[in-house]
Symmetry: C2
Subunit: 374 residues, 2 copies
């Protein structure tokens, strides 16, 4: 918990220009400012998950800029090349604070509170306003690193989508596709905690029964193969003829359209992802006669609009639920990023980049957590 | 203005079962109750427009039931057959009132205030709660019959859509397709009265320039061929780079999608019709990153939900605007329905039915007004 001397450069996964993750990402060392500004905090980033939005940003199709940094060495880029650090999400331990920083102390754990943070680096120095404390130094180990590192994108998305569109009552029904995604699993658990039923669509697969049992253990009311419209309609006919109050769509296309069919009058259909990249075909009769509202949700935009108080209140609720075990995070495969240039052989560099790029091969594949060791 | 003795039957355009308008509609005489209940009003229907929704109801694809009545003669249906009278909209003169009716007097003009009114008949007897007075006997001739008969569907639709989704400021922009429809023409005029600009999409046609001049004379800011995305985007780039606050969609499919491209952040895209029958393709990026809200509007549902006070307030505003000439209704082709069986030769019957069915051949064709003479 003592103040650490910051190195003048640190390990990062970076890109110079957008493109396919497997082609454009590189391991490199990047510069760290040596003077700590009065309002700055110096961070050791503990871990950063790889989210679909990160890979969209790498591909240049996500409307948030990544921060520019200068390469100092250790990669194919010449020293001084300006590159960008991807990564919206991480958990970091504070290793030094500027002279005017009073609310954040060395040893605290923080998470980013801005878009385009640049999480895929072992160290960062940022203004204190760009982070939120989620664990004080004296609360050490009450949160797991993986849970802390994944607090920004997925749990808040599930939390807000369950609250910002409909006032749900006990017994109401939410339907969602990609129910096995990280957001989907948080939706299942948070809905269960609210007494709200969830109907969960997942793509058919050999291990469907095991997956269904897993989601059921988290509190899923029903798990149905996405595409089996008869089963979906049948469940609603039997258990909730009034239809669902909310649909959460991360897929698009036909999957999104099927959920429209089981929505109740006046319900919201919320799109937060687009795995299939297909537009959602919406029947005019659903809009006009059933008053279905097709809307989107973007966590980054919510954060931009929300007051710091509203943001802190939400994180307090989320951290409390996770600490209490009321909400359990997903499992991760850890990919360790070598800190020293000596350890970063060409083979290790290539392996790390390949693992990062692999994370994008399927939204529902194994989640990858980049880990930055001390 | 004296109380008229009601006949025991009256002329109507009816159907026994849903189907293609040209096949299932018949001229017939139908029964009228001979005793006037205390709360009833007896009406001579002056005129009834034929709207797309009426023809959808005739086809059995509109979710509002038409009232059952008994045939008394004059058609291919045997006497006593139960048939249904289409027609959601009309203006009627009150010819008699029940003993408990105090707010409505003989000579007043009324319009329906319920779904499935059954307007395509020369006379009707209904509870006073099912009509709204729009012109008192002593205000006679301050409204044209055609304007009075078309107060229920189109002007309120334009009025509500301009008010219920966005708080428009002077200079804001609304984009709409099918801008030459009756609703479209009311939108143009009411937006102009609010200081709101309209960008109006109409299908290309030989007389495009004349149509554009006509809409411009009503107050259209711009008239653009639907399908010319470059022209549409070009107009916004030059005149309103912040995009439109609202889109009104009566077409669906690609036309609906083009309007999404010129909406501003957080704007509403409102579907109120589906001429093309194609679903509205909803792009995930528009929902997520531009926060576009794809919703529907249905006047019948608004009326069901609204208080009588809110409804009366709206009609007062609409009638005042129409009386003042601030809003001008569309032109109609009149189709006179013969009242007496002697006049209703087989040829006349066939001609009337053919004209009604023709009204459905194109949403943008000549509007037809059924007229029921004394």
């Amino acid at each position: 918990m003592s103040t650490t001397t910051l190195p003048s450069s640190t390990a990062a996964i970076v890109l110079e220009a957008p493109g396919a993750p497997g082609s454009v990402l590189r391991y490199a060392h990047i510069a760290i400012p040596t003077d700590l500004a009065d309002d700055a905090v110096a961070l050791h980033i503990l871990a950063a998950p790889i989210n679909p939005s990160d890979l969209s940003a790498v591909q240049g199709v996500y409307p948030i800029q990544m921060a520019p940094v200068a390469v100092t060495g250790g990669s194919a880029f010449p020293e001084g090349t300006t590159v960008r650090v991807p990564g919206f999400e991480c958990a970091a331990e504070v290793v030094a604070v500027g002279s005017a920083v009073s609310d954040i102390a060395v040893g605290d754990w923080v998470i980013p509170n801005k878009g385009g943070f640049g999480a895929w680096r072992a160290h960062a120095v940022v203004p204190e306003s760009e982070v939120l404390v989620i664990q004080r130094a004296d609360e050490a180990h009450s949160l797991k690193v993986a849970d802390a590192a994944t607090m920004i994108v997925n749990p808040p998305t599930a939390y807000r989508m369950l609250r910002d569109f409909e006032t749900l009552k006990e017994g109401d029904v939410v339907v969602q596709n990609a129910a096995n995604s990280a957001v989907g699993r948080y939706v299942i658990q948070m809905a269960r905690n609210l007494g709200v039923r969830t109907v969960n669509l997942v793509r058919d697969r050999p291990e469907f029964d095991a997956l269904a049992a897993d989601l059921t253990s988290l509190g899923a009311t029903a798990v149905i193969r996405d595409g089996d419209l008869d089963a979906l309609k049948g469940w609603f006919a039997e258990h909730a003829p009034q239809g669902a109050r909310l649909a959460f769509n991360a897929v698009g296309g036909a999957s999104a359209a099927r959920m429209v069919e089981v929505l109740g009058k006046g319900a919201h259909h919320v799109t937060y992802g687009a795995m299939s990249r297909d537009p959602v075909p919406v029947n005019a009769t659903a809009l006009i006669f059933k008053d279905i509202k097709m809307v989107g949700f973007w966590m980054s935009e919510w954060k931009k609009q929300a007051s710091r108080e509203a943001t802190v209140e939400m994180y307090d609720a989320l951290v409390a639920a996770i600490r209490a075990g009321e909400v359990i995070g997903p499992e991760f495969e850890h990919v360790e990023v070598p800190l020293s240039l000596d350890d970063a052989t060409e083979e290790r560099q290539a392996e790390v980049v390949a693992n990062v790029a692999k994370a994008g091969s399927s939204f529902l594949g194994k989640k990858i957590l980049l880990v930055f060791p001390h």
